[in-house]
């Protein structure tokens, strides 16, 4: 079975990354690539093309918001949907992320069905 969609998960916590990969493995035809911080994420974005990006905000070296800014200036990924996954639940953080170009915002602790539904919605995959 060949993957129709590609997804990049940028998260510094191995636990969260593993959980996200588990959740996303239930989306049919989705191939997931992992990156452990913003810089690693950028490196992987430069090496390939992704249909969706999930990123944490608080990460060492380069945080998720800077990554979103970079993604929006990248000609290949400027329109790629980005989901921010973070512990910050405040409305201003959400607003800031959306203003920077994020498409959706999910707060931790995450629930797999919520992540799956959001990814399917942004990739326009019928449920």
């Amino acid at each position: 079975m060949s993957a129709e969609y590609t997804c990049l998960v940028v998260e510094d916590s191995p636990m969260m990354r593993q959980l996200l990969v588990f959740a996303l493995s239930r989306v049919k035809n989705l191939r997931v690539t992992e990156a452990d911080d913003g810089v690693d994420g950028l490196r992987k974005l430069a090496a390939g093309r992704f249909d969706i990006i999930l990123t944490d905000i608080n990460m060492p070296i380069m945080d998720g918001l800077k990554l979103v800014k970079r993604v929006r200036t990248d000609p290949i990924h400027k329109d790629t949907p980005v989901i921010i996954i973070t512990t910050e639940g405040a409305a201003e953080d959400r607003k800031r992320a959306i203003e920077l170009g994020a498409n959706a915002y999910i707060t931790k602790p995450i629930q797999a069905p919520q992540v799956i539904a959001k990814v399917k919605e942004l990739l326009k995959i019928a449920t």
């Binding site: 636990m15 593993q18 959980l19 931790k108 602790p109």
Partner: protein, 305 residues
């Protein structure tokens, strides 16, 4: 003209009056005959017309009868279709019920899968290392990322006291050591620290977790949202204290209870394993050690203890 036979008498010629009378009679007779014929023809026409009318009426009646039969047939068909429609509707309703039941079941299975994934990931990460720093990092991450804790600490049993060994969201030096009073604490001595301390102590002594049920936003600030005893076998060796949770964490969910249960059973063993590993300066036991333990167990006539 016919030839007259001999001897035949010849009738005298009728008189003109008789002739006239005869002619008049014949004329009248023929006239009456013509009238009668006319009358007969008219009657015939009338009867033909009547026959035609009757035939038309008969045809109409036949058509009507056929139409009635068709209507009856249609009515039978409608009745049959109505029954069929009812059956189909009943099937649809049943299918909808099944579909709804399946959807509910699917959602339950999805949730169960998600919960199992949480437990698997937590357990996998917790036991993926023997380095104390890593074990503590994983424990903190587990509480932050999977449970939604904002501030928490780990208390381990020392000699007659509970000692905070690690914390997140709250400075470790701020956390007091808790003497184990075994319920001898005086009521008037209680401050907010003491109430928390008392709760931690109670959870340690009883081995029964304290987990706030319902809305977590209404839990008093000086009261932990959850205290979970850590066990090794049947002995309680410490307590995980969750002081506060993230704003968006409205309440503990079934998966959190399952995680607390898993932590109660595994956090202490992971910590203890890491401490033993640190104590052995990062050396794994060799085959000689395993053989010696097995030999001693065999000599004692029992299992490995």
């Amino acid at each position: 003209m016919a030839e007259r036979k001999p001897g035949e008498k010849v009738a005298p010629e009728p008189s003109a009056e008789v002739k006239m009378e005869r002619d008049s009679f014949v004329h009248t007779f023929f006239k009456k005959g013509a009238e009668f014929t006319d009358e007969l023809l008219r009657e015939n026409d009338r009867l033909r017309k009547r026959l035609f009318d009757l035939e038309s009426e008969n045809a109409a009646l036949r058509t009507h009868l056929a139409s009635d039969e068709a209507i009856r047939e249609l009515l039978r068909k409608i009745e049959y279709l109505e029954r069929e429609k009812e059956q189909l509707l009943s099937h649809v309703r049943e299918a909808e019920r099944n579909s709804s039941h399946l959807f509910t079941r699917y959602s339950e299975v999805e949730e169960e899968l998600s919960n199992l994934a949480h437990l698997y990931v937590a357990s996998y990460q917790l036991h993926s290392t023997l380095h104390l720093r890593e074990v503590l990092r994983h424990l903190k991450e587990l509480l932050t990322q999977l449970v939604g804790s904002r501030a928490h600490a780990f208390y381990m049993k020392g000699s007659n006291e509970l000692v905070p060994i690690a914390s997140d969201g709250i400075e470790l030096p701020e956390l007091p050591r808790l003497a184990i009073h075994a319920g001898s604490r005086k009521e008037e001595d209680r401050g907010s620290h003491d109430r928390t301390g008392e709760l931690i102590e109670r959870v340690f002594m009883t081995g029964v977790a304290h987990i706030e049920e319902g809305d977590l936003s209404v839990v008093p600030r000086d009261q932990p949202a959850a205290c979970v005893p850590m066990r090794i076998d049947d002995a309680v060796v410490g307590v995980i204290v969750i002081y506060s949770v993230l704003d968006q964490k409205e309440q503990f969910l079934p998966v959190d209870y399952a995680l607390f249960k898993m932590l109660g059973a595994h956090a202490a063993t992971a910590l203890m394993g890491a401490l033993l590993f640190a104590d052995s300066k990062g050396k794994f036991p060799g085959l000689d050690t395993i053989a010696a333990i097995t030999w001693h167990a065999a000599r004692a006539g029992g299992d490995l203890k």
